[in-house]
Symmetry: C2
Subunit: 594 residues, 2 copies
């Protein structure tokens, strides 16, 4: 979606939106950390996030990689900065084509800083000399596909600032140039950072005077530390109001106090700006989380206790996936794996899984997303311990369900889902009994759609779930379970072992909606299903977990733990079990006595 | 669906099925009565119904018309008899092409009786001399589209019977010919009528002996009156066991007693046949209802108190409509009108209305189905009475809701739906207050899917409804209603007057599922929706009701009633109102005090 449409929707609905800007980290570990941080921050539902283009194009490959993953794996509407520095048209088009192919729809078109080591911007051969030409090029070549953002300078572009401030003439010339960028196809404006809110408001006013009517979004950079603040404002020739200097001077060596003042200042600036009628703030996070989140909390724009899920899983933002609103439950704890394995689909199911599901899941090896060092480290600590029996393994599973372990070989996420806590004592019990659960949800019978633990879709509706549990168990346990299931007609199951031997009491095409919601003036939304065909694709990934995610982390080739884990992989069944009676059923009562 | 597949499904699921045969009545009124009777009988869910081809092709046009309406308007899987009598291939193909175009998929292929006034069958030029050639022709020309049924003669074909019975040689020759018909493409066999059950069982056995493996369905003709029985059995040279003759002789002049014996005999014959392992009975109804229904009740094959609805509305059987499982609520009381206005659709929504709804409803004038004399007669009696005020009209509506009137200008059905009775006292009240209701349903919050009043879809599930009411009201009442609705956020409405002025609090594309069901191992089924686009097509039909279905029935051009009715048509709004809170809402509380 083009960001300007999100801003306009919010204007119509009287909502305030916010966004986060990041830059490409210098190390692999930094990139991994950035994605984890972004993943957390995106839970607060920014309207979009953006990633800068390295000065002189130095990080361009990394920027492409990051923006594509932001859009498709983090599932946030993403904007890529693009500059003319060192970029002939062919390179620009490579970058634009690449992100377009990945469903990214938003570009911040900039001239860019001078190439590394130079003082002045230099036009490269076959390149552009200014953002205006870049805007024109994008519009001409890509029509309306891209949302184009342009930069506005409340104090004029640093290049035209000499001494304390730009001359009025230089400022006006800069404004006129901004209008040209908008007229050439810029959808809306994000401003350079500033600390004098009045200057910003005057700038907005001046824009309106000369006929710039598009949204103008203030760029807010929370002060995180004193030296960084000086460096950044020096580089950008940003005016610092005297009271800010005065407030910082006595605390400049106390990082904690500076940050705290930064949050206070950012909050006050935003309050004043929002009060003026502007409905969006853009936060230059410098890849840091706390100050940005604190400012938004102060403004009442995010509320950690409130549910803001539009679906039980985070909906995709890739322009080609936006109609997707049904998924199998199997990948609930591995959403990135799911996205990766379905990227080749040319259509996604909407409304019903049965109608338009794509048939083939990508191969397991396609699953390469996050560099997984930190996750593996946690699993190494928590799971790679001496194991001498199946009971030891059941104990680990039980401990995870009890919340005693944070990592889990079958999950990309950290810790348990909130809703799982409703049933974790039951889960602990069945795990100890040898039903090693890797996925579950409690039954929900018409809870309000804004309930914190299980709600989604916004207020005014009711949500439902069928109780679900997915586990590994031995063939002997499975046999007992199947016999007992005959007395529980509301139970449906699919069981399969690693070589594909299957036992099931549902038809091969039966698709079971296990999560659904009823909302005013809408058709029933059923975002999560259990279906045998997807299950058969999933099972390879699930069985592989024993080896790739766990056994392989033991160093010694002949570690007895490794042997037990691989034996389980070879001999156990993976079982998907639904209690279809979400009103009167009791899934865990079924397990007692098996 | 080909009938043989229904029989085989039933065999697999250990179910017994039944079917009804009719013949084309001689008068228009007879045809109208037949459809009403068939409509009632089809509620008991026969596997199929069939209609005979007139002797000598005399009723062929009417047979085509009837079978097409059976399939598409009565919505029962229908089979057409087709004979070779007086039928050159071109005529046969016209008939086959015509029913194929109408989605009929089953043909009973017969040689047919001799042409009228002749003793012996005569092959017509360019026609066929036997059923075998007709079977071959249908298979060759239409591939697997048609299910083909062939006739079996437990006592051999009457043509080869001389004296008391066919010779063994003639009987065996007849059997061999039957095998040829099956081998040439006949899917299954329906037998000629018989009254000696042992003969039938021997026939089945003999068929199996010579390698006929397809289903064999006994044709049972309940004895309805003595003379008819003698005529039919004489014509068909049917053997009558001595005990039947003995039982009929003393009661032959007492029609009531004969019918009662006929039901008893039919029941006993069927019991014996079903006990032998056959799972289908075909009833020659002779267009009569009671004996056939009584036999099926005796056999426990139908249970009037039990719900057998697979969806809230009767699902279509036309092969091109079988995936249709969502409809707007507006035509709930006019299902035939709905089918008529959507026959041109090339796809029907499945699972969701929003995804694949066809855009255009056929024009109102397309709506021509039943000859409507009898219905108009009832409306004439009940509704065409002196009216001098809007209050008189409100009184009529209230009386209908109270069950005091059987007919209703806006309904093709007779009387109120069972579920409406839950809310009829509330409906009476709001009608008296000037909200003239033409459609409604109560809220249902997770009742069992086999509940008699509101259940559908078979056992094991839960069904839901949002409370719905659709009515005409004056612009003044509408204004009050809209003001009051602001305090009831769960209410959504669409209102429109005859010239198309609209007031609504939902978006133009908002589709509201108002009936849905949750079943084991299935996606949520949502068969009834309220959507603004369909509503706009429906409103013309609804407003036209005031004139075409009511005012026009007043003879006198200047009848004051006519004037009032037309004034309402011109000035009132039609309002569709949903209470989206099916758990805690109270739609009728909303009306109190408006």
């Amino acid at each position: 979606m083009r960001i300007v449409d999100k801003i306009k929707d919010a204007q119509r609905e009287n909502r305030t939106i916010f966004s986060f800007e990041y830059f490409p980290p210098k190390t692999d570990e930094g990139v991994e950390n950035l994605f984890e941080r972004m993943d957390r921050m995106v839970m607060h539902q920014p309207a979009f996030c953006d990633i800068t283009w390295g000065a002189g194009g130095s990080t361009s490959d990394l920027t492409l990689e990051i923006v594509n993953k932001m859009q498709n794996m983090i599932c946030v509407e993403s904007m890529m900065h693009l500059t003319c520095t060192n970029m002939p048209v062919s390179k620009l088009d490579f970058a634009l084509g690449n992100v377009k192919a990945n469903g990214v729809q938003n570009i911040l078109a900039l001239r860019g800083d001078p190439p590394h080591g130079q003082d002045k911007f230099v036009q490269v051969e076959d390149g552009f000399s200014c953002a205006l030409d870049l805007v024109k090029h994008i519009r001409k070549k890509y029509g309306g596909y891209f949302g184009i953002t342009v930069a506005g300078y409340p104090e004029a572009h640093p290049d035209v600032i000499s001494g304390d401030a730009a001359t009025q003439e230089a400022y006006e010339k800069d404004l006129a140039y901004l209008k040209e960028k908008v007229d050439a196809g810029g959808d809306f404006i994000i401003t350079q950072l500033f600390y004098d809110t009045d200057l910003f408001l005057r700038f907005v006013n001046d824009c309106r005077e000369i006929g710039i009517t598009c949204p103008i979004v203030p760029g807010i950079m929370p002060i995180n530390n004193y030296k960084g603040f000086l460096r950044m404002t020096g580089f950008c020739k940003t005016k610092i109001p005297a009271d800010i200097t005065a407030a910082l001077e006595p605390i400049k060596d106390n990082d904690e106090a500076v940050r705290s003042f930064g949050v206070h200042l950012g909050t006050e600036m935003c309050k004043k700006i929002l009060a003026s009628g502007i409905n969006a703030v853009h936060l230059y996070t410098l890849n840091m989380e706390k100050s940005a989140i604190a400012i938004l909390q102060n403004l009442g724009l995010i509320d950690i206790s409130q549910v803001r899920r539009s679906l039980p899983w985070r909906p995709p933002t890739n322009v080609r996936r936006t109609r997707e609103d049904v998924r199998p439950i199997f990948w609930a704890n591995r959403p990135k794996s799911y996205i990766s394995r379905t990227t080749a689909w040319d259509q996604y199911p909407s409304g019903r899984w049965g109608d338009s599901r794509s048939p083939a899941y990508g191969a397991l090896t396609d699953y390469q997303f996050l560099r997984r060092r930190s996750r593996n480290k946690k699993i190494q600590e928590e799971w790679v311990v001496p194991l001498s029996s199946v009971e030891d393994i059941a104990e680990k599973f039980a401990n995870y369900c009890a919340g005693k372990l944070k990592s889990f070989p079958w999950s990309e996420l950290e810790g348990l889902q909130l809703e799982t806590k409703k049933i974790n004592s039951e889960l602990v019990k069945i795990n100890k009994d040898g039903f090693l659960t890797i996925n579950s949800q409690p039954a929900v019978n018409g809870e309000k759609s804004d309930s914190p633990a299980v709600g989604w879709g916004g207020p005014g509706g009711y949500v439902y779930q069928k109780a679900y549990v997915e586990f590994f168990c031995s063939p002997e346990k499975l046999e007992k379970l199947i016999r007992k299931a005959e007395e529980f007609p509301s139970l449906t199951y699919i069981a399969v072992n690693s070589v594909g031997e299957t036992k099931s009491n549902v038809g091969p095409g039966d698709v079971n909606a296990v999560t659904w919601g009823v909302f005013p003036a809408k058709e029933v939304i059923q975002p999560t299903v259990v279906d045998p065909i997807s299950f058969m694709s999933w099972k390879d990934e699930a069985f592989q977990g024993w080896e790739d995610e766990w056994a392989s982390l033991y160093k010694a080739k002949d570690d007895p733990a490794k042997k037990i884990l691989l034996e389980i992989k070879e001999s156990y069944y993976l079982v998907s079990l639904v209690d279809n009676d979400y009103i009167g059923g009791d899934l865990f009562a079924f397990f007692s006595g098996i």
